[in-house]
């Protein structure tokens, strides 16, 4: 039997978590759920346990990347065949998990649930964020040779081989945890797919970062990507010469 673990990184999400867990139980009853409590100061862990999820609590706030890597390690040790990452604030619709799993079954290693491929245009973003996202899209075209429309999406499916890889190498910084991870998967030769999923408006909680810090993170990501890309060029030539 294929075992699936849904990982939910959660920071102070006691308000929205019960509904998310109830939805998961309804729409994805075959999946186990792991809430990684990222140093919450509210009752996130208790609420998660009451909702029937496994809980791992980090002693202090480490960021989504670290919370997720903890979940990957959990998945590897407990022999799950695949992992789904979803948010604790209810913007990801659990009924769409089957879409991600279907793509994993089709042989993909990383499946990105995209807000933008849906085509019905129901999901609008503000101009500045839209610009940033097109920049990231361009980045994926340049570095991966293909377009990923929603590279910051936190609604993803991971195959077992990729989970093992990410259990040691998953990036910790904001934005890197989505975009850089995507490129790492691409460089590692993993198969990547992007599928349209229906998303909801956030049920609660704040978007994770505000303007100035966001710009810093975009800049940092660009620099890191530039460095990684040049390194990758060297590595691939070395491999060819062997």
């Amino acid at each position: 039997m294929t075992r699936t673990l849904v990982i939910i990184p959660a920071l102070n999400e006691e308000a929205t978590l019960p509904d998310v867990l109830r939805d998961l139980a309804t729409h994805a009853p075959e999946c186990d759920v792991l809430v990684v409590d990222d140093g919450s100061r509210d009752a996130t862990a208790e609420v998660a346990r009451a909702g029937g999820a496994y809980v791992v609590s980090l002693p202090f706030n480490m960021g989504v990347g670290t919370a997720l890597r903890t979940g990957f390690r959990y998945a590897v040790r407990n022999r799950y065949d695949r992992v789904v990452q979803t948010d604790a604030d209810g913007q990801h619709d659990p009924s769409q998990i089957s879409v991600l799993l279907g793509e994993l079954d089709a042989g993909n290693d990383l499946v990105i649930g995209s807000r933008f491929l849906a085509g019905d245009g129901h999901y609008h973003v503000e101009a500045s964020r839209g610009f940033a996202l097109s920049l990231l899209n361009l980045l994926t075209v340049l570095l991966m040779g293909r377009s990923i429309h929603d590279s910051t999406s936190g609604f993803r499916g991971f195959s077992r081989p990729l989970v093992e890889q990410f259990g040691t190498t998953y990036p910790r910084e904001f934005l890197s945890d989505t975009v850089e991870a995507l490129l790492m998967a691409s460089y590692g030769g993993f198969r990547i797919a992007e599928v349209p999923v229906k998303m909801r408006v956030r049920a609660g909680g704040e978007p994770s970062h505000k303007s100035l810090r966001l710009y810093y993170h975009y800049l940092r990501l660009l620099i890191v990507m530039g460095l990684t890309a040049s390194l990758r060029g060297r590595r691939s030539t070395r491999r060819l010469s062997q």
Binding site: Y54, S57, L58, P59, R77, N78
Partner: protein, 142 residues
């Protein structure tokens, strides 16, 4: 006049070296870090004891104003040390991140066992298989 300065700088350098050695002996500083500072102290000691050495060295290096050599050396040294510490800090941060994750996972597993709940990899042969598989063991290094 010159000898007064000589005595003063020599004393300061010796005190500096003494503090370093004491810290290493009290295990408050690891030996690997102390070597660098001892080297710095030794160089300063030589320049303190031998008058005119700094001027001669500067002239040999084509530097007209001798103290500039001192500043140049100090700047380069501090730059090197700062970069080294950034590297060391990155390594330590990554290790503490891994430890934090492992600690959280271990606590979760202990709690599950205490509750009498069956953990996923609960039977002894599964745990043994897990420990034998290098991919499943805690990867402490990247």
């Amino acid at each position: 006049m010159n000898s007064t300065l000589q005595v003063l700088t020599t004393l300061v350098t010796l005190t500096f070296l003494g503090v370093i050695v004491r810290m290493v002996r009290a295990r408050q500083m690891r030996a690997k870090y102390s070597f660098l500072w001892m080297l710095v102290g030794a160089v300063f000691l030589v320049f303190s004891i031998v008058p005119g050495l700094l001027d001669k060295t500067a002239r040999a290096a084509g530097i007209l104003y001798a103290p500039a050599l001192l500043f140049l050396g100090a700047t380069l040294l501090l730059l090197f040390i700062a970069v080294h510490f950034s590297w060391e800090l990155s390594r330590i941060e990554e290790r503490s991140r891994t430890l934090t994750e492992e600690l959280a996972l271990a606590i979760a597993r202990i709690e599950q066992l205490e509750r009498g709940g069956v953990t996923h990899a609960s039977s002894s042969h599964e745990v043994a298989a897990r420990d034998a598989d290098p991919k499943l063991r805690a990867p402490l290094r990247r």
